[in-house]
């Protein structure tokens, strides 16, 4: 269980996260959604310690995330970002096997784990010997997911992992991700600005704006009972071609 208590973060005087509290229950898939700059990515980055809140606390399994506990906690979290964050000088296999190498796993154990994850992520072993730039965007995200899952983490954090993919690839990956999330039963926090994607993947959706929570619930709740004008506008905009107000 991951919990943020009254966290606040400003960048250059601009409030990005505004005294926000939220809990992410174990084994569930949570989606954070909202327009650009609403603070959804910043929340993820707080959990992995890439951003430190100015006020408030981040708890992982009831334990506060501090500089001392950070390294141990990071190894219990898989983190995937938009462009995958794969290291270009390492092959897909080396990228996936980076943490085992660092931790000194026996080669056999690493190979076995990579085999399991190759199947799970629908990759082929031949692809694993390519460098990231020799892979397609969708393949890169699958490798990135493998790397995130390598140590069998308790939580999986994905920051707009499909932001740059074209629609067909995106649909395939969404379907596979849904299966993976259901199969593994991990705590998943998924950031997107696509409502359909959120509805397809999530158990719980949190709509954010200006660093605050606007509404929490299922897709049905958001569509049928929008908490305010903004929530109504946001959901309407994603159903049809009407533009929403710029944020």
């Amino acid at each position: 269980m991951i919990e943020l208590q009254n966290v606040t973060k400003r960048f250059a005087g601009f409030v990005v996260v505004d005294s926000l509290s939220i809990r992410f229950e174990t084994g569930q898939t949570h989606v954070l959604i909202g327009p650009s700059g609403c603070g959804k990515s910043t929340l993820l980055r707080m959990i992995v310690g890439l951003v430190t809140p100015e006020a408030g606390a981040v708890l992982f399994d009831g334990e506060p995330v501090t500089p001392d506990s950070l390294v141990a906690i990071r190894r219990r979290i898989g983190y995937v970002i938009q462009e995958g964050g794969l290291f270009p000088h390492l092959t897909a296999r080396e990228n996936a096997g980076l943490m085992p190498r660092f931790l000194g796993w026996p080669e056999k154990q690493t190979a076995q784990r990579i085999d399991e994850l190759t199947q799970l992520t629908q990759l082929t072993p031949a692809m694993l010997d390519r460098y990231p730039r020799q892979l397609s965007g969708g393949q890169r995200q699958r490798v990135s997911l493998m790397r995130a899952l390598m140590l069998n983490p308790d939580a999986l954090l994905l920051d707009e992992p499909m932001g740059n993919l074209d629609p067909m690839i995106r649909a395939d990956l969404q379907a596979d991700l849904r299966t993976i999330f259901r199969t593994l039963g991990k705590t998943v926090i998924f950031v997107t600005h696509d409502l359909a994607e959120a509805g397809y993947l999530a158990d719980h959706i949190t709509l954010m704006r200006h660093g605050r929570i606007v509404q929490q619930g299922t897709l049905h709740d958001l569509l049928e009972r929008p908490a305010n004008d903004f929530a109504a506008k946001f959901t309407r905009a994603q159903r049809g071609p009407q533009p929403i107000e710029s944020e």
Binding site: R45, V48, G49, L50, V71, A72, R74, R75, I77, Y79, I81, Q82, E83, G85, L86, F87, P88, H89, L90, T91, L98, M99, F102, Y131, P132, R133, Q134, L135, S136, G137, G138, R147, D166, M168, I169
Partner: protein
């Protein structure tokens, strides 16, 4: 990891295994003017003829470099002029007689020979026919002829102890005295465009022109008598060498000096050949000099040059990359490091060499000659900036999302540096090393100023003798070496960089 370790060990061996053995025998040095080099050759060949081994470190950068090397015992003897000792080495002591100079030198453990017979003084010269017609014998006589056209070298014209003082001493009435290039002045004197000019009494041109040197009747010009200086311990180490040097006392007339200079400057003989000819005909010594073939000379210089490059560049790589990492991780310290490396670049080569001599000597390392540590340290310092700077840039331009990915995985700082950051920065770092290597090959020609030889030696000689062919003998191989190194680094970039970063790795096969 093993591969990296092997590469590091090989490079370090390459950097620190010396190839030049220290010179054996009597070490004669000479400064970088033609007269000094000829005298150095005369001394070297005379000592060899007397049966003692001797080597000649030619055309070193300046009086201070040579005199200090003698004092420290890095060389055993060198030709000097008494005026230089008075005006430069013992300027503060205000010595007037040669005996005073000899006494001061003795306190430093140095012996000064009797004058060799000629001097290299300033003097004023006129065409002989004109001087005779006007009955001019001395500088004082000039005062009676205020209409003579005087042209002086710029240096002499502007020095406080030059023309202004000369004019005052002799009450010379001449107006509109102008500066002029020395070689040009000779031509104008010959063509009767000017009447009086300043000369050095050893100028090669004096051997060819019919001129009269005006008597310095009021003793204005300091006396620059040629002498040898040597260490007091030479007599006990090589008794034959000392008597050989003594045998040259009073043997070289003013005219001999001019003719030797003329022979070398006209390109008819090398310093060694001119000196050998003089020793054979005048002192009846059995000396022979063999000039190695041009190819053999270039081969030797290439070896010497590569020696300077490898022994300075490789240590620079090992120091500059960690400095660059430090500078990237601690920006405030980084500004200091980059600032210091930048300042080094602005120090002129000769100044840097002179500055480095004292610390290098302090550690008991050889400051001059083949494998001169002074030259190596200077080249090392010049090589730092491009490598440090590119390391900093390479690390600073790693995309932030890759930094964050490495952090979020939970890797240690050390592992991140070795396995993520340095490989990602490696193309920039290698480019920095390439730049440093190419610059180093060029800078290494300056090693010749401290006798480290290499391609700089023919360049220095060529400049001194105004001999383009000789300059090219150094400049062309240096340029070729720089190009070869550049090509070698390009191969390395293609094959040694991480494959995913290299320019050659095949890109996406179909998007999507």
């Amino acid at each position: 990891m093993l591969r990296t370790a092997v590469i590091i060990v090989v490079l370090l061996l390459l950097a620190f295994v010396p190839s030049e053995r220290p010179a054996k025998g009597v070490r004669i040095a000479s400064k970088k003017d033609t007269g000094s080099v000829i005298l150095g050759e005369l001394a070297t060949q005379t000592i060899r003829a007397a049966g003692a081994p001797a080597v000649h470190l030619q055309q070193l950068g300046g009086t201070r470099i040579v005199f200090d090397a003698l004092h420290r015992g890095e060389i055993d003897a060198y030709p000097e002029f008494t005026g230089t000792l008075r005006q430069e080495i013992f300027a503060a002591a205000g010595l007037s007689s040669d005996d005073d100079v000899r006494k001061h030198l003795a306190e430093l453990g140095t012996v000064m020979s009797r004058p060799l017979g000629f001097s290299n003084n300033y003097a004023l010269a006129m065409r002989r026919d004109q001087a005779e017609k006007l009955h001019i014998q001395t500088i004082s006589d000039l005062a009676r002829h205020p209409n003579l056209r005087l042209r002086l070298s710029d240096e002499f014209l502007n020095r406080a102890d030059g023309w202004p003082a000369l004019r005052q001493r002799y009450h010379l009435p001449h107006e509109h005295v102008q500066g002029m290039d020395h070689d040009l002045a000779y031509r104008y004197l010959e063509s009767r465009t000017i009447d009086v000019m300043d000369v050095y009494t050893t100028d090669a041109q004096l051997a060819q022109l019919d001129v009269r040197l005006l008597d310095d009747d009021l003793h204005f010009f300091p006396q620059y008598d040629a002498v040898f200086l040597w260490r007091a311990d030479l007599a006990s180490r090589y008794p034959k060498a000392e008597s050989a040097l003594r045998s040259l006392e009073s043997q070289i007339t003013q005219n001999d000096a001019r003719e030797l200079n003329a022979l070398v400057q006209s390109g008819k003989a090398t310093e060694a050949q001119a000196a050998a000819e003089f020793l054979r005909t005048r002192l009846h010594l059995d000396v022979n000099v063999e000039e190695p073939s041009t190819a053999a000379q270039i081969a030797r210089r290439t070896r010497e040059h590569l020696d300077l490059v490898r022994r300075s560049l490789i240590p620079a790589i090992f120091v500059a990359i960690p400095l660059g990492v430090l500078a990237a991780k601690r920006p405030r310290l980084g500004r200091l490091i980059l600032g210091a490396a930048g300042v080094v670049q602005t120090i002129p080569a000769l100044a840097l060499l002179v500055l480095l001599i004292a610390p290098v000597a302090y550690f008991g390392l050889n400051t001059i000659g083949g494998g001169s540590v002074t030259a190596i340290v200077a080249l090392f310092l010049y090589s730092l900036l491009p490598i440090v700077q590119n390391t900093v840039t390479g690390l600073a331009t790693i995309p932030p999302e890759l930094h964050e990915s490495a952090l979020a995985l939970g890797l240690s700082p050390r592992f991140r540096l070795w396995h993520i950051e340095l490989p990602l920065a490696s193309p920039a770092i290698l480019a920095g090393v390439k730049t440093a290597a190419v610059l180093n090959v060029g800078f290494a020609t300056l090693g010749a100023l401290v006798g480290a030889n290499g391609y700089g030696q023919p360049i220095l000689t060529g400049i001194r003798l105004n001999n383009t062919a000789l300059i090219l003998q150094g400049a062309i191989p240096a340029a070729c070496l720089a190009i070869l190194l550049q090509l070698a680094f390009e191969l390395l970039e293609r094959h040694a960089l991480p494959a995913g970063l290299g320019p050659k790795s095949p890109s996406l096969e179909g998007r999507g």
